[in-house]
Amino acid sequence: MNRTIIRLTAQGMLGGRRLWLLGALAALILVIAVATRLLAPGSPADGATVLRTIVFSTFLPLFGLIVGTGAIAPEIDDGSVVHLLAKPVSRHTIVQSKLVVAVGAVVALAVLPTVLAAVILGTGAQTVLAFGVGALAAGAVYAVLFLLLTLLTRHAVIIGLVYALIWESLVGSFVPGARNLSIQQWALSITDAIAPAGVVAADVGLGLACGLIVAVLVVGTWYAGNRLAALTLATED
């Protein structure tokens, strides 16, 4: 880790109106929780279903995409990354420092609102914890994966979107085998294991899910550092 890189990345990712935009997204989750509680004062299980659909299928992939690509892509785009690469800092340290910021943003602006929303919906302490841990796992994996993607291709945002929207929702609902390769299902598997029975359903075994999550986090971070070491700077078309 390098404090200066962490500070500069945080400034770039959260500085100015970007913090307000990401904060608005986080606030939206809380607004939804309040609205659901007011408009449908039913059982907490329904609230948990709403939260699961919104947070795990849409909010976390998109949030992970924004912070994962936002951590380094703008610098590569405008070429200022050369100043960073010219410093005597290991490329792995650079990637790790940037990931600390991305995961920190996920915790503050995605996991925390999810936990608060679960509290507002009155789902019970165990479910709140389950949603928190699941959201953290999913958010961290998305952040690492999408940061790695920005180092592999200039079209990381588009490829990430195709994965998050088409692979996870469309292909996953038609081809059951595809769910083994779905980050959303890995996270739901952890959530399912912590939450009381019947709150969420997961299609991937807990052991496989945990193994894959750790593998993506470790290998993704290491490979991202490798890619940064071999980065070629090209102009945009």
């Binding site: 609205a35 449908a40 329904d46 849409t58 892509a73 588009i158 195709v162 088409i166 078309d237």
Partner: protein, 301 residues
Amino acid sequence: MSSPDSAPAGVIHNIGYRGYDGERLSRRAITLALYTHGLRGAFGLGRAARSKVIPMGMAVVMLLPAVVLAVVAVVGEQMGQLSGPVVPYTRYAMILQAALAIFVAVAAPQSVSLDLRFHSLPLYLARPLARADYVRAKLTALTTAVFLLLAAPLLVMYLGSLAAGFDAASETADVAQALLGALLYAAVLSSVSLVIASLTSRRGFGIAAIVTVLVLSYSIVSSMQGVIAFDADDPTTAGWVGLFSPMTLVDGVQVWAFGVTTSTPAGPPNDLAGAAFLLTSLAVVALGYVVLNRRYRKVKV
């Protein structure tokens, strides 16, 4: 080799610049050229091969299910299993909305963000082209592109239904309604996306922001509608919630105006709500146009 003192101090060389005495096209022709350029660009035509991958890929994703449905209609009719299309035309956009969202999210920043980033607007405005013409050309081009993307699969399904020998009159009426709906989908999605794209010169950020707005709003609205309509047993409130996302908004207009089945847990509950859905979608388009004009009034030349 000439000595320095014998060289002339300053000379204007005639290097053969010539004046233009051909036809000068009108402002309208320039707008039309910009429109054609925008429409082609949305599908990646006239751009590098890798820029064609996403638009063309999404067009294929949009078309494939329609082809399958057309074949199913013909085969199913022959086996005596079907007497009408499996999927109503008006629901097609909603079912494939992920592909639609990605297409429009890639096309809108492509259309305006790069002009902002590379400051090309002064070059456009050096011609007899007004800022409003630029906005109109970009907006209509994107609307046309999204409409074509939606209309093509509907026509494929329609041809399949005709080939299967379903009732031609009712199929024609149904597909005409769906095409009107497609036009409204195209106009609403395009104006929302272009407004977002015009606010940033970073293409990646524009793409992410547009998809977030389109997909997250749909996800929120539909799951809230589900819990309100079924668990709290309040379809009226659930219907009104549909106002808050572009996709459910236009779906609500179709449900009210054409009496088709809704793709969401609850459609507009009554005529008042239906009219509100229609007015809101028209207002979104009009507001998008006004906001874009205001935005481009501020872009420096």
